[in-house]
């Protein structure tokens, strides 16, 4: 095969791969969309489940997932971002940094069920929080912390040292430099990490399984009992008899839309930051 | 800064050209003095040719100096060398002119026989030729000591000029028919004395080129030549020279 033919061949190969991946995505979304769209109506979204989750709405599950996402954002984002800031801007010892890098990489690879067990043992029992939103949110936060820290570190590293030096040379302290320059310029990268993390947290089942999610509720989520979309989907698809297929797909569709919706919102915010600090 | 190699080549060629010009000037003087003393002016056209060549060289060298300054921005020793070249070519050109002026006078010096000053002119001529040769050598060898010695020798030439002047004056007063010859004889003495002065100028520039010392105008005597300033180097003014690396 001559050079030109090889070029064409590989290009064709890559294109096939890309189309396959895109194809899967389209099939996934399309399948869910087609099968689930029929179930979506106002009642579905705002009512409580009835008849053992086979009828009624999924309102508490939606709310529960939203609450979880909010709590995880509140806990993991400051924790993760400030850790990243500390490591990048303040900590100069190399042994500390290497240790942290290893720890974070390993944490990222821990299976989510293990996090669930950790949450159970540490938050629910050892710290006496009991089952519920707080323990679940904390467990999910631990899960996504490595993601946030890594993304934030990369973003902070990408800010050129010359900008920091310019700020120092004007008499700014390290914190003033971070607050007015480094962090704002790194925002796009940091926000990307946050988006990914919160989406991930919204979709996890195993950690919340062991720390507090409940099968069904007739009222709104409480501190000690809540529903969540991923778990709800799992139960009506596998544990519930007679759950209409349309309802199952409908639930999946709602989850999908929620995650995509929040992603889009955060991406818009990120783009706004990019425009503001073009460099 | 343009290429170092090109710059070095330019400086070498500059050196060669100035040396060549100086040699021509010396040759011209040797021929001119011989003409007067031996009364054999067969070399007159040669002297005139040399004078023209010297003039041409002055133009060529001046252009080269300005090119070096514009293109290579020389500093420190290089700058002093270039500025010295620029100035001594003027002196060398004058020496060439005087040589040519001396052979012109020859036509008017027919009745020598009873003139007793030939001895002095011959001796004066020897001194002046040696001074021109040594001025040239001090430039090519970068020898500041040799350059400084020129000033004392100039005193001797000045003295001889004074003597010649008085003698010829007396001679002319004795017999008015000798005035033409006598005046021309004084002119020749004067030319030789001026050539010695120009050699001293060259020496002064060479001292500057090598040591960066400039002559103190206060010490410049008008009639009897110049005295150089003290030989120890002046400390730089205003800033301070720091520790010598050798001291460590």
């Amino acid at each position: 095969m001559n050079r030109r033919q090889k070029e064409l061949f590989y290009f064709f190969l890559f294109r096939v791969c890309a189309l396959t991946v895109a194809g899967f995505l389209v099939i996934l979304v399309g399948y869910i969309l087609i099968n689930g769209i029929g179930a979506i109506n106002w009642a579905f979204l705002t009512e409580y489940p009835r008849k053992n989750n086979t009828a009624g709405g999924i309102f508490p599950a939606i709310l529960g997932t939203l609450y979880l996402m909010a709590l995880v954002t509140l806990i993991a984002v400051p924790l993760g971002v400030f850790t990243a800031v500390y490591v990048t801007e303040y900590q100069r010892d190399s042994w500390w940094k290497s240790l942290l890098r290893i720890v974070i990489h390993n944490l990222a690879g821990v299976p989510s069920i293990v996090y669930g067990l950790l949450g159970l043992g540490l938050f629910v029992f050892a710290l006496g929080m009991g089952f519920g939103l707080v323990a679940s949110a904390l467990t999910l936060s631990l899960l996504v912390l490595p993601l946030i820290i890594t993304a934030s570190r990369e973003a902070l590293h990408a800010v050129p040292q010359s900008l920091r030096e310019a700020s120092f040379a004007l008499g700014a302290t390290k914190w003033q430099t971070v607050r007015h320059h480094v962090l704002p310029y790194a925002m796009p990268g940091v926000l990307t990490g946050i988006i990914l993390s919160v989406s991930r947290a919204a979709g996890e089942t195993a950690p919340i399984l062991l720390t507090g999610v409940v099968y069904t509720m007739v009222g709104p989520p409480r501190l000690d009992a809540f529903m969540a979309l991923p778990y709800h989907l799992f139960t009506i698809a596998t544990q519930t008899a007679n759950a209409p297929q349309q309802v199952q797909y409908g639930t999946a569709l709602v989850l999908l839309i929620m995650v995509v919706g929040i992603n889009l919102g955060a991406i818009t915010m990120r783009n706004r930051y990019r425009e503001k600090y073009k460099w | 800064m343009t290429s170092r190699i090109v710059f070095q080549q330019e400086m070498e060629e500059l050196n060669e050209e100035v040396t060549q010009m100086a040699n021509l000037a010396r040759e011209a003087i040797v021929d001119a003095v011989e003409c007067i003393v031996e009364r054999d002016c067969s070399r007159r056209p040669e002297v005139e040719r040399l004078d023209r060549e010297i003039y041409r060289l002055e133009q060529v060298i001046e252009k080269r100096c300005l090119d070096v300054i514009a293109l290579h921005t020389p500093v420190a020793s290089d700058l002093r060398t270039v500025s010295t070249c620029l100035k001594i070519i003027t002196d060398l050109n004058r020496i060439g002119r005087y040589a040519s002026d001396i052979v012109e006078v020859y036509d008017h010096l027919d009745s020598f026989s009873d003139f007793r000053n030939d001895v002095n002119i011959s001796y004066m001529g020897e001194l002046v030729v040696a001074m021109v040769a040594d001025a040239t050598r001090s430039f090519t060898d970068r020898d500041a000591e040799l350059a400084r010695e020129l000033f004392e020798r100039d005193d001797e030439v000045d003295r001889l000029y004074e003597v010649n002047f008085r003698t010829v004056l007396t001679y002319m007063m004795e017999d008015p028919r000798r005035i033409t010859v006598g005046t021309n004889w004084i002119l020749v003495s004067r030319y030789l004395e001026r050539i010695a002065d120009h050699s001293c100028n060259i020496g002064e520039r060479v001292v500057y080129m090598v040591t960066a010392e400039r002559m103190d105008p206060k010490d410049r005597k008008h009639k009897n030549g110049h005295l150089p300033k003290a030989t120890e180097a002046q400390p730089p003014q205003g800033g301070y020279a720091t520790h010598d690396l050798e001291d460590k």
């Binding site: 460099w279 | 020389p74 002093r80 003014q237 205003g238 010598d244 690396l245």
Partner: protein
């Protein structure tokens, strides 16, 4: 040039990076309200030296500085010296223009807003500061940009991003930014090396204008620039100060042979 008040007196400055002894026993007195140039081949320690003056080397982790840098009678490396105040009084302009990716106005306004206006002294004799008003800030920004010879070119686009300016304009913006906090000394680390000849000429003119009010120290690898602009020149080689003197003197007859070798290009 006989009359000379010393603004910065440096004594026995030694700087080490791990095992690399970058600056060796440097002692020099930098005169007030003059331009002092630091020249020397690459790696001779010029940048390291100038960064010691405003303690920018403190940022580098494995850098050890010994010696004294005395300004107005106080050693900048003293224990109770506030490094933030040091850097406010001694400004720096870097080799590659590094304006903040914000508006032109904001670039210059950042530092004065941070420090505030001087408002008397506290019981320890240190300056106190109060918040700067918007009007004061705007006029300070305009003053700084005018002083940096940039006002005519940017006055109608103060809210635009600084990155839209040309390289030379960005560098002048960085100068304006440094001037806005009213320093006494301004340090320039090869400010023109990234600029074209016309931009360079504008900045050189600006430097000569600045020396009326500020003490200027400029590191440059361009000897002609030092010759054009500086009153005094210091030559560094392999971490040591070889010679320091009047620029005219140094370029006509340097006292040290090493200096002569460098400036006539016969080194290496």
């Amino acid at each position: 040039m006989v009359e000379m008040t010393t603004k910065i007196s440096i004594k026995d400055l030694n700087v080490r990076f791990d095992n690399n002894h970058a600056l060796k026993n440097v002692s020099i007195d930098i005169p007030e309200k003059e331009i002092t140039a630091i020249i020397g081949p690459s790696g001779c320690g010029k940048s390291t030296f100038i960064r010691c003056i405003n303690r920018m080397n403190d940022i580098i982790p494995n850098c050890r500085v010994e010696g004294k840098v005395i300004v107005d009678g106080k050693d900048l490396y003293d224990r109770d010296m506030d490094v933030v105040e040091v850097r406010r009084r001694i400004g720096m302009v870097f080799q590659k223009p590094n304006p903040f990716p914000k508006s032109i106005h904001e670039n210059v306004a950042f530092a004065p807003r941070l420090h505030g206006m001087e408002d008397g002294v506290d019981e320890k004799g240190r300056a106190k500061h109060r918040k700067i008003s918007k009007g004061e800030l705007d006029s300070l920004v305009e003053w700084s940009i005018r002083r940096a010879a940039l006002w005519d070119e940017v006055q109608d686009r103060m809210k635009k991003s600084a990155y839209e300016l040309s390289g030379g304009q960005q560098q002048r913006l960085c100068i304006a930014r440094a001037l806005a906090v009213k320093p006494e000394i301004v340090l320039f680390d090869e400010p023109c090396s990234a600029l074209d000849p016309i931009a360079t000429a504008k900045i050189e003119d600006l430097l000569v204008d600045l020396k009326k009010d500020y003490t200027v120290v400029i590191v440059t690898h361009n000897m002609q620039q030092a010759a054009r602009v500086a009153d005094r020149t210091a030559y560094f080689y392999l971490g040591e100060l070889i010679e320091f003197g009047d620029t005219e003197q140094m370029f006509e007859k340097p006292a040290q042979k090493l200096t002569e070798q460098y400036i006539t290009g016969r080194m290496g």
